[in-house]
């Protein structure tokens, strides 16, 4: 993990071209081409991811989420700091403003369900993508 907590007041952008991401049928998919890792996001994390890619600072994104879910800003800020540290640790985001031409498309769906700590799931078994002739169900 990073020694210093990341700043919530500055902007971040996708670590292109090593990292690619897109929203496919409502799901955010992230792939790090440098190491083959895939990432999935839960509902709140997806909302945050979209906000960060569109140039919002984590601070602003957190305030929007706190207001939407009616949870304390402090709790959301703490969760976002942890989440952001994970994104930076994985090399998915880097500090800097989003380039207008590279701002992610996609619809930012703010989840209707109760607030949950944003969660990113990492899948490192890229090589298993090309399974040869796996047996069909018996």
């Amino acid at each position: 993990m990073m020694e210093q907590p990341p700043s919530l007041a500055q902007g971040y952008r996708l670590n292109e071209p090593a990292v690619i991401t897109d929203q496919i049928d409502g799901e955010w998919v992230i792939m790090n081409l440098a190491n083959g890792a895939y990432y999935g996001l839960d509902a709140v994390a997806s909302c945050l991811w979209q906000s960060l890619l569109s140039g919002e600072t984590p601070l602003v994104a957190g305030r929007v989420i706190a207001a939407h879910f009616e949870v304390p800003e402090e709790r959301v800020a703490a969760d976002i700091a942890t989440f952001l540290a994970q994104l930076l640790d994985e090399g998915l985001l880097i500090a800097g403003s989003a380039l207008p031409e590279l701002v992610a498309r996609g619809e930012n769906r703010v989840p209707a369900a109760p607030y949950a700590t944003p969660c990113i799931t990492r899948y490192a078994d890229m090589t298993r993508l090309l399974a040869l002739d796996p047996p069909l169900p018996a």
Partner: protein, 402 residues
């Protein structure tokens, strides 16, 4: 992982193939990637005129005497740009504008070379084929090998013109799949592949409930196959294309584990591979006979050996020569009376004999006199058309953080 607030279980992002992800990102990809080989190292430069971004990085051989093809296949199994130029003479004199213009002007141009020291590939084709073969000793030989693979997909390469064919599709033509008992999850497919055709997923209720509103681009048809055991239910739709899609003239069956990587539309795929015959499948990547398939099914305990070998004995009695084997996760069909007869005969074999559909397909093709086309290469390698993905059962969750 915290489940609070989630109404649906997550789908596994690994079921999105890099080719599909790249295609969905097409508008944001850099215009050109230049891999410049010099002194054993590879300088990779990406740039995009629209965003005026330019990124360069230098990669060195991992081991002594790593060949250029080996290094390229390690560094660039996917091309992150729309065009890839591989240059072994120093890139200062590459007229990038001219290269880009040539490919822009000819959508079916797959690759070019200027005398064997500089090679240019359309990025999506490079990605769908997984790049060049790292086992080839030289860049020239690796490129020639790749040219042949690209030509097999109907694109123009040096010395081979493009095959400009397209099958006119109707609105009821379809790409389709089926999943029962949550055995797999729907894969997102390239957005423009189906074109005017439909993209249908026949799911039983349990699988449809899992996917909920997240159909990943598929039009879901939910329901059970009547009077069919679970092992055969998905194969009902697979075999009986004429019953699943009674209004279709052309259909493409893909197992749920298949991701379409073809750098072309269904109309072009059908134009290319249904030109001579009304059905096209892959040759099996490893086996060449039903007898060999039976042996594999027995070894893997995929079905009752007694049922399989009784079936083979019956085929032998009828004089079936058993000298070919199709691999059937992908079936491209024109819906003709002859193909309908093959479908029905095949389903009859699946219901009366082994549920393993590869046990009976070649026999049925022989019996009904239907000849089939073969897709290039096999499903065990990057064939440029389809990728067999890891099968991911629904409801499996892992997280390293929570």
């Amino acid at each position: 992982m915290s489940g609070a607030g989630r109404t649906m279980p997550p789908l596994d992002p690994r079921t999105v193939s890099p080719a599909v992800l790249f295609q969905s990102l097409a508008g944001r990809r850099p215009g050109l990637a230049l891999a410049s080989l010099s002194g054993g190292a590879c300088t990779l430069t990406l740039w995009d005129e629209a965003s005026r971004t330019r990124i360069s990085t230098v990669a060195h051989p991992r081991r002594a005497r790593e060949s250029d093809p080996a290094m390229l296949s390690r560094l660039l199994p996917v091309c992150v740009a729309r065009l890839l130029v591989i240059d072994a003479v120093g890139h200062e004199d590459v007229d990038l504008a001219a290269v880009t213009a040539a490919f822009d002007a000819a959508p079916l141009l797959g690759a070019t070379t200027d005398g064997g020291r500089r090679f240019c590939f359309r990025g999506e084709i490079w990605t769908s084929l997984g790049g060049c073969d790292g086992q080839m000793p030289t860049l020239a030989e690796a490129s020639r090998d790749l040219f042949a693979k690209i030509a097999a997909l109907g694109f123009a390469v040096p010395g081979v013109p493009a095959r400009d064919v397209e099958q006119l599709l109707g609105r009821e033509d379809a790409v389709y799949t089926a999943i029962t008992n949550r055995y797999d999850t729907l894969k997102p497919q390239p957005r423009d592949f189906a074109g005017q055709a439909r993209q249908l997923a026949f799911l039983d209720r349990s699988t449809a409930d899992f996917h909920g509103q997240r159909s990943r681009g598929w039009e879901v048809v939910a329901g059970e196959v009547p009077d069919t055991d679970p092992r055969r239910a998905s194969r009902y739709w697979k075999a009986n294309a004429h019953l699943a899609l009674p209004q279709s003239g052309i259909s493409l069956w893909v197992d749920a584990s298949i991701s379409i990587a073809a750098p072309m539309s269904l109309a072009r795929l059908a134009g290319l591979f249904l030109a001579e015959h009304d059905i096209c499948v892959f040759s099996h990547h490893a086996r060449r006979s039903i007898a060999a398939e039976a042996q594999a099914c027995k070894a893997l305990q995929l079905d009752d050996p007694d049922v399989i070998y009784a079936q083979l004995a019956r085929y032998a009695t009828e004089g079936y020569p058993d000298e070919d084997l199709a691999e059937l996760p992908v079936i491209l069909r024109r819906h003709t009376p002859a193909i309908e007869a093959l479908n029905e005969s095949w389903w009859s074999e699946i219901t009366r004999g082994s549920h393993r559909d590869q046990i009976s397909f070649n026999y049925v093709a022989w019996k009904t006199g239907v000849q089939y086309e073969r897709f290039p290469l096999s499903l065990a390698v990057r064939n440029g058309l389809f990728v067999k993905m890891q099968r991911v059962r629904a409801n499996r969750e892992t997280s390293i953080w929570q």
